[in-house]
């Protein structure tokens, strides 16, 4: 296409617009995250707030830097379309709430620069930037990335106040043992590897509880499954995402989990444990539904979602890491172009292969 056709003010129809915009879409996704995030702040206190804030600021900062280095003229506009902010927000939701400050900075760099801008910026990346950062951090710094704390609601006496929170956040001192805790998936995996089956490990005194309201250790995004679910349903309701991907992710995770648990409850966690643990809900409604890195068609989204769910279960069950959502999403991201190539909508008047339909012999006579 010649340059004039791109740069000229469009004159072709339509002369009306539905009013949707990138900024509005991103804003709605952020609104859907607000309840779970606020609840997470209440559960994990000031350090989690600082982590959230710095992750977002770091994403915005690296985005601005990358845009400037690439010579983009409309930095402000691109910067505030909400996409970098959302990436930071989602990344913060998957980090341990008391992770130190440098995790936020390094995470922001990986997400924006390596995960997104090197591919050409918004809309061009192959992998979900937040998940790229999360996996890179987990692989590079396994210790701080698996330091979970027990919920310590802001209202409780033991909760760190603003200054203490800042100190925890900035100094990354080792946390007191009493507060450290394993997530349910981590606990189950560790015990299983020691040869203790789930009947005993989950019945133990220190076993993490399973809770719909999320009063248990974990990241911001996995604590309040119910609020995440509510946010996801809101997004489906306003038409930002379709039901296909989340339903397929949850089905892809629940079906093998149900079969495994029915066959051998001693070694395979139950459906509810899978659903309410890790980033299952966040992944299904907010991560796997990322526009850029998921397929275009409803059928493609179902294939993609089933893949994410199933891979998550496989990694959780047999993999080296207790949680597999991030890996599963990245693996399926890589398959997205292939899915899009093979699954296309049927064109009206053509069959699935793209050949024109046959002209009927008798016309209903």
């Amino acid at each position: 296409m010649n340059s004039a056709a791109i740069t000229a003010q469009p004159i072709a129809s339509p002369h009306a617009h539905g009013g949707n915009s990138v900024t509005r879409t991103m804003f709605r996704v952020q609104m859907a995250l607000v309840p779970a995030t606020l609840y997470g702040f209440w559960l994990f206190g000031w350090p989690s707030f600082f982590l959230w804030l710095l992750t977002i600021l770091s994403c915005l900062g690296f985005e601005a830097l990358a845009l400037k280095m690439m010579g983009v003229t409309r930095i402000k506009r691109t910067l505030f379309d909400g996409s970098a902010l959302l990436t930071g927000w989602l990344l913060a939701m998957t980090l341990p709430p008391w992770a130190p400050w440098w995790v936020a900075v390094v995470g922001g760099f990986i997400a924006i620069v390596i995960g997104k801008q090197v591919f050409g910026g918004v809309g061009q990346n192959v992998f979900n930037p937040a998940m790229v950062a999360r996996v890179a951090l987990l692989v590079s710094f396994p210790v701080p990335l698996t330091m979970w704390v027990s919920p310590l609601p802001l209202t409780s006496l033991a909760a760190p106040d603003f200054i203490d929170g800042l100190r925890i956040f900035l100094t990354s001192l080792p946390q007191p043992d009493a507060m450290a805790s394993a997530s349910l998936l981590g606990h189950a995996k560790t015990e299983l590897s020691r040869g203790i089956d789930l009947f005993h490990s989950l019945a133990g005194e220190h076993a993490p509880a399973l809770s719909w309201i999320g009063a248990r250790s974990g990241s911001l995004g996995e604590s309040a499954s119910l609020l995440i679910l509510a946010g996801g349903i809101y997004l489906i309701g306003v038409g930002i995402i379709s039901w296909h991907t989340p339903a397929a992710v949850l089905a892809g995770l629940a079906i093998p989990a149900a079969i495994g648990h029915a066959v051998d409850p001693g070694h395979y966690l139950s459906v509810s444990a899978h659903m309410l643990s890790g980033a299952a809900m966040l992944g299904a409604f907010f991560i796997a539904t990322d526009y850029v890195t998921s397929p275009n068609t409803p059928a493609g989204q179902i294939v993609f979602g089933l893949g994410v769910g199933f891979m998550t279960w496989v990694i959780r069950t047999w993999g080296g890491y207790p949680e597999g959502m991030a890996f599963a999403v990245l693996l399926m991201n890589a398959l997205t172009p292939v899915i899009d190539r093979f699954i296309k909508p049927r064109i009206l008047g053509r069959d699935r292969k793209g050949k024109p339909l046959d002209i009927p012999e008798s016309k209903g006579a």
Binding site: S13, A16, Q124, I347, G349
Partner: protein, 501 residues
Amino acid sequence: MGFMNLFKTFLGNHWGVHPADHKRPASEQAVQRLPLAPRLHLMLSQHVGAPARPVVLVGQKVLKGELIATAQGNISAPLHAPTSGVITAIGEITAPHTSGLPAMAISLDADGEDRWLEVERPADPYSLAPDDIAARVAAAGVVGLGGATFPSSVKLNLGRRSSIDTLIINGSECEPYLSCDDRLMRDRAAEIVSGIRLMLIATGARVAKVGIEDNKPEAIAAMCEAAARWDEVVVVVVPARYPMGSDRQLIVELTGREVPSDARAADVGVIVHNVGTAYAVQQAVCLGRPLVSRLITINGKAAVAPGNYEVPLGTLVCDLIAFTGGTQGEVAKVVMGGPMMGAVLPQTRVPVVKGTSGILLLDAGEAAAFEPEACIRCSSCVKACPMGLLPLEMSAHIRNDDLDGAVDLGLADCIACGCCAYVCPSHIPLVQYFYHAKGDLQARQRDQLRSESTKKLALARQGRMEREAREKAEAAARRKAERAAQQAAAAVAPNKTGEIA
């Protein structure tokens, strides 16, 4: 119904968009007649097919309805004088097109009498032969008034040739802002129904289904009442959804049949005509009146008096705007047609044509111009596309100059309805891309044809040269042989004489 809709929502079968229709209050105003403009300009090409050929001379006096240009070729339509007066010019004027390029037109100065040409009227139009009806429709210059402007008689004849069982009358008027069809159905339902009956006779179809969107209850009531006496005319209420009025979508909605992408509606036993066309057919056949005027919607926030107006063809858009009270505030865009598929007019000194359904005077708020951003692959366009295409992929291929890639994805099936660009959160001018690519594709096909014919000519020339060379060589050989024979004869002759001697 509610359950089915819910089911469809879950299945993802929800093509199209639901734009705010902006039809009221313009649709509530009774149709008004405008004062006659002093000079009318009739474009020779205001239909699909070959332009009409003028049959009048400059200075000639004509009556209203008199033939001024005749159809040329199989697919074409004649033109008639929209009022009585004098032909003042036959030449180029600015065409009502986004390009602003000139095209041929006949200019006519009105004499103010507006006197009709006397014509004979059939005593009983419904007893006419199908051929006769189609011929009268052709002679009246009736073309598809929904905007496609395809000569109606061609479609009527096609109907008889390819055994049509269903005639679909398009009263959906899915474009926002426009209400001329709505108004026509409310005010002239009886005439439309009699036009439909004539078209049934002409096509040989057994049943006519009139599809009207559910956002036009008054039109539905009027049409139901007018059609109540005739079993073969059925009014079907269809959901208001853009582009319901696109023929392929309407055919699926009303008959469940899907037109193959390389075929025409007639191939599945269906023919689609607009309600405005049905009205024009009735006027042509029953009253002998050719198509010389039409209903036009004036709408938009910058219009002083939004409403529907009976406008003689050839009236300048600027006159039309002036007659309807002019403009208010700043006009950001003048659009001929609807906001989804209409064309921007760079200037208003252009005449109204048979396919003009509306003139929209959009203010800055309505015609908001956005700067395109990067595609975020949200696939809103995929959901909206009524043809099942992948607009985001097609535009990516076009941006990279990969025309073949876009064609493989179904560029040729795109109906340019604008749903994709309407929903795009990044404000990417997708339809502009597709127009551009279709233009390139046409140019390429033209080039291909040209190079093929050049090749054919070159081959023919080569063949001719070879043949000529061969003939020359043969002639030379013949001459040589003759000469040799002569010489031999000459050589023998003395001997012979010698021998004799």
